[in-house]
């Protein structure tokens, strides 16, 4: 009897600590649902060994549900995830979410959730999210794509109401070993294998829910 009670107590403790991954993700999604539109200035800095790109300033416009526009006076190379940073994009489609554990990230308690697409046609095969559930903020994302490339995204925030980041660092790392010397002919393929470095984006002058006319997105 004592043994059964012990097992029941153990099971109760174990499952009590398990959190609902979908609920955590939905909390985040609800927070982003408050954003109808925004415009923001962004400064992009590259630090790659295989690519040298000058620092760029761009302006990003976003309007629900999926309208985006980027304005830049010069050439700009922007990580795809940086254009419209919204978890709606991250979680759209069919996926499974699993709560892994709670841990400390930069002295903040975060929940680690793994998101696995159920479809085999998506480019991303696994995403891991470090979510600050108390503030309902994504602190870190790690994705692995079909090309064995890992992208780590570290996010910092100045404000908490809408959960839009003030600084995002994209760290690209490839697990594939590249034995071939890079030439102009195999450059494209080799970039995918040797893309190691960071892109830092500093966002400033957010204008959230101020209304953006649709004509801005014409000829995008």
């Amino acid at each position: 009897m004592a043994a059964i009670i012990s097992i029941l107590i153990f099971l109760h403790c174990t499952f009590a600590q398990q959190k609902d991954a979908l609920k955590i993700l939905n909390d985040i999604k609800h927070k982003y649902d408050l954003i109808k539109d925004y415009e923001v200035e962004a400064e992009i800095k590259f630090d790659f060994s295989s690519i040298k790109v000058p620092d760029t300033k761009i302006k990003i416009y976003y309007k629900k549900p999926n309208k985006t526009k980027i304005q830049s006076d010069n050439f700009a190379m922007i990580p795809k995830q940086a254009v419209s940073f919204s978890p709606i994009d991250l979680f759209k489609g069919d996926f499974s979410a699993v709560f892994i554990r709670s841990e400390l990230l930069d002295s903040k308690s975060v929940d680690v959730i793994k998101v696995i697409p159920n479809s085999d046609t998506t480019d991303i095969i696994l995403s891991t999210l470090w979510i600050d559930s108390s503030e309902k903020l994504i602190r870190k994302i790690e994705t692995v794509n079909k090309h064995s490339m890992t992208v780590r995204i570290d996010l910092s925030y100045n404000e908490n109401k809408y959960g839009l980041p003030s600084k995002v660092i994209f760290s690209f790392g490839s697990e594939e070993k590249n034995g071939n010397q890079t030439t102009q002919k195999n450059l494209g393929a080799n970039f995918r294998r040797s893309l190691n470095g960071t892109v830092t984006i500093i966002y400033s002058n957010y204008k959230i829910n101020k209304g953006i006319p649709d004509k801005i997105f014409i000829n995008n």
């Binding site: 060994s49 295989s50 690519i51 040298k52 790109v53 000058p54 761009i58 980027i70 830049s72 010069n74 050439f75 700009a76 190379m77 922007i78 990580p79 795809k80 254009v83 480019d123 794509n145 090309h147 490339m149 992208v151 690209f172 890079t182 102009q184 450059l187 494209g188 393929a189 080799n190 970039f191 995918r192 294998r193 893309l195």
Partner: protein, 278 residues
């Protein structure tokens, strides 16, 4: 001296052979521009294929600067062959036409004749490169616009649009210096013979041999490659590096100037001592 140079310029620009270089560049560059115009930014897409999975590209990388850079890269090795058509003719044409005596009985020294021919040749070289600049850079900018310049140096470098024109200016200037060296060699060969074909073919042969030896990745040639002027001719490309090695470029410029002066001195010695029999 100015009159002498003017006369030599008239001799150069009144020959149809002089315009072969201009015509060749005038035909080739529009063909390249037309081909690139029809393929649009396919070149950029191929070059950045591996990056397009992760990045969005905004702006015009397929612009006049890129076209001018591609043209200069592909034509630079062939322009010497257009230069020697005039350089090889400098003295040999006088012998062929039988005008040596008439030229040298005038109250001018042989050295003045040599210098005037040399300066006229340099003006031809400059005019050919200016023609190249006009068609490859100016026309390409008019057709394709301006923007950042994408360059490949074992890694992908994208230069800011404000950081490009000075690179072209120095690259074309260095190209002029390189072509003057080529002209000087053909000028030397031209003073040796009485038929223009010989110096043209001989200069071409020397340039081909030295170009090949300059680029062969064989350890045996490593120590002698710095002594070939062809090794230093490609330094124009250094201006499109992320960090321009001015020390190396200046060193190469000195080598090319040294070769040019050397060829000119040798030509002067040969021509001043030459017994005119034609």
């Amino acid at each position: 001296m100015i009159t002498l140079i003017y006369i030599e310029l008239l001799k150069i620009y009144k020959k149809w052979r002089t315009y072969i270089g201009f015509i060749a560049i005038g035909i080739l560059i529009p063909i390249i521009q037309l081909a690139l115009y029809s393929t649009k930014d396919q070149y950029i897409r191929v070059l950045t294929r591996g990056l397009q999975d992760s990045f969005i590209f905004i702006g015009n990388l397929f612009n006049g600067y890129l076209i001018a850079y591609l043209i200069l890269s592909s034509l630079f090795i062939h322009i010497p062959f257009l230069i020697v058509l005039v350089g090889g003719d400098a003295f040999a044409s006088e012998a062929t036409a039988g005008t040596y005596r008439m030229l040298l009985i005038r109250p001018v020294s042989r050295l003045e004749v040599i210098i005037s021919k040399y300066i006229a040749g340099i003006i031809y070289v400059v005019s050919l490169i200016v023609w190249l600049v006009l068609l490859s850079l100016i026309v390409s900018i008019l057709l394709f616009g301006t923007g950042n310049l994408i360059s490949f140096r074992g890694k992908l470098i994208i230069f800011d649009s404000n950081n490009v024109l000075w690179r072209f200016f120095y690259a074309y200037s260095f190209a002029i210096l390189s072509m003057i060296t080529v002209y000087s060699l053909s000028f030397l060969f031209s003073s040796l013979v009485e038929n223009a074909i010989g110096p043209i073919v001989a200069t071409m042969a020397v340039i081909i041999i030295l170009f090949v030896l300059s680029t062969l990745p064989i350890e045996f040639f490593d120590k002698i490659q710095p002594y070939f002027f062809t090794t230093h001719m490609s330094q124009w490309d250094n201006f499109f590096n992320e960090t321009v090695d001015f020390k190396e470029i200046i060193n190469s410029a000195f080598v090319l100037v040294g070769y040019s002066i050397g060829f000119l001195i040798l030509t002067s010695v040969i021509f001043i001592r030459k017994d005119i029999l034609s």
